[in-house]
Amino acid sequence: MRTSSPPALEPAGPLAWLRDKLFSTRLNTALSLLILGLLAWLLPPILDWLIFKAVWGPQPVAACDAVRGQGACWAVVWEKFRFMMFGVYPFEQQWRPALVVVLLTALLVISAIKAFWRPMLAAIWAIGIALAFWLMGGGLGLSPVRTELWGGLPVTLILSIFGIGLAFPLGILLALGRRSELPIIRSFSVTYIEVVRGVPLITVLFMASVMFALFMPENLRIDQLLRAQVAIILFVAAYLAEAVRGGLQAVPKGQYEAAQALGLPYWRTMGFIVLPQALKISIPPIVNSFISLFKDTSLVVVIAIYDFAYAVKKSTETDYAWKKYFIEAFLFSILVYWIFCYAMSKYSQWLERDLSRSAQR
């Protein structure tokens, strides 16, 4: 317990830091020694396997077989890189999906910068998306590529970006509907949101893949990718609605009342007064929805759509010689997903702090 004596000067230097952070009490010392012991025991073999004894670079499979069990076979990443990244997209055209990945990632990065948060951003996105579709699908001078051949990372990016983008207006409507005073609209919104949030994405994807054909007129064929995309949009809308509802609830009641006192009708109250404030509050949860969507798009594997995860799975499954190095292939894909998601989650945390700070000003 501290007494009222003047504060002691903080001792500086690495030794003091060690004593403070690792060996402050007897329990802490025991804990630190235990952890250090475990690390000293486990880390060397893991690092050996991951790095020092691993096979790096474009090496033949024989090089991996030689060190099997002792070192990881990262050569599989070099061997299968194109397939993992772009799936079954025509090989000599793969510069196109590569450009799409760069383009979409650049759009995401630009949208993360607050200086770009102005109407111009929507125009940039429209152009970017049109460009991405042109590059992926072809036409106007590029050889056409059917969506069945699209694959890999661009598909993952497209599914998640469109998933969140097109679900957004639907989510706002559902959130407004849930807080509406009109009983039919409210109960419809509540039912939709709760039903969708109560079932796993897999069942919705199954529905899209199996039942969609039954719902549509007989001779109308809609391709698999679009069906999955529609399912994802309808699914995510329910989650976005909840994120937006959180923002709506956080807007002080006085704002609604002031708008009403000014005689603004419902849509103007919402559009000019409430939504701008509510959406700003909901930005961090929306970014979080995007992160979980980005991870969840991997579930399209179960309906055999060539997203990044499925391309990685197939890349080793279909090649007998490299088949046994599928764990390395998965670890590579895990790293790629992790880089995207970690960057976004760090951004979301920063944004949350930043927004709440500027709200206080």
Partner: protein, 380 residues
Amino acid sequence: MFRSERARNLLYQVLLIAAVVGIGWYLISNTLHNLETRQIKVGFDFLSREAGFEIAEKPIEYGPADSYARALMVGLSNTLVVAALGIVLATLLGTLIGVARLSSNWLLARLASIYVEVMRNVPLLLQLFVWYGLFTELLPSVQEAIKLGDWLFISQRGFRFAWPAEHVAWTAAAWALPVGIALALLWRAWCKRTQAATGRQLPTGFGMVALIAGLPLLAWALLGAPTKMEIPELTGFDYQGGKVLSPEFSALLIGLTTYTAAFIAEVVRAGINSVDRGQGEAAMALGLSPGQRLRLITLPQALRVIIPPMTSQYLNLTKNSSLAVAIGYPDLVAVANTTMNQTGQAIEAIAILMAVYLSISLAISLFMNWYNSRMRLAQR
């Protein structure tokens, strides 16, 4: 007329109903037409037909001659088993990691935060693939199983371990456990009431432990205290006897647990952080021991913040257990998928799936809401 707010409100609602009915009618008429041309009969009659496929793991009895309904029940029980175990294990692991992240020990806190940042930023599906791959590829074949005495055999076929040979005493002990837990809860309520009425403190924790552990033990001892174990033996291509955790089940359970634990750790950390520091200091000033401080002051307040997000993590885990289909664990989705492929009754199978998951979600929500309302601050 459009100037009148009531008329406009009515119009919006009528429009919504018209849209829903219109789209619904369009979809249904298409579906009926399609079903007719494909000669699929709508209805749940198929449930009583013979399923004809084997299911690898079945907590309840089942054979290929049983009906589809029975097969779906097996799938549901598999889902419930893995979800229930996953919820318990993820809560334990997640709480440990959440507390570790707040530790004053720099190393421990760092490790815990690395764990959280790695696990929650990678798709669960890929984690499941890796766990499953580790079990099926890296573990030795059955013939070269890793043996821990006669008790545990680890091979590509999963974890097989010795298990008490069937005896009425074990069955009785298993039944005595829930009874013991119920009695322990009653005992705790009685202790609380006594303390509130008279101020006398009864040995609450001791009594609860005695009831929960003692009752099954007593039942087991009274009925002959059997100690015979069923030891797994290698006959032919696989071990027989004992109990086995299949690689599919183990991979799914470990994957679900470690993934959800990362989220639960964050929930727990936020909950503990939300309790004002002054509360702990005040408790210290009153002379409460560290254990009492945690149990009586910090935890009850942290729980109020923890329970709602914890509920959604439990729901997520249950829904994520449907990823079983990707690694071949016969959960509800996997069985429904097989059923769908064999019978062509896609609409019915998916309707069953959604209805079941909605009911599970609803049940968990209701239970947690009840628990939440019990833990809420009593405001007068």
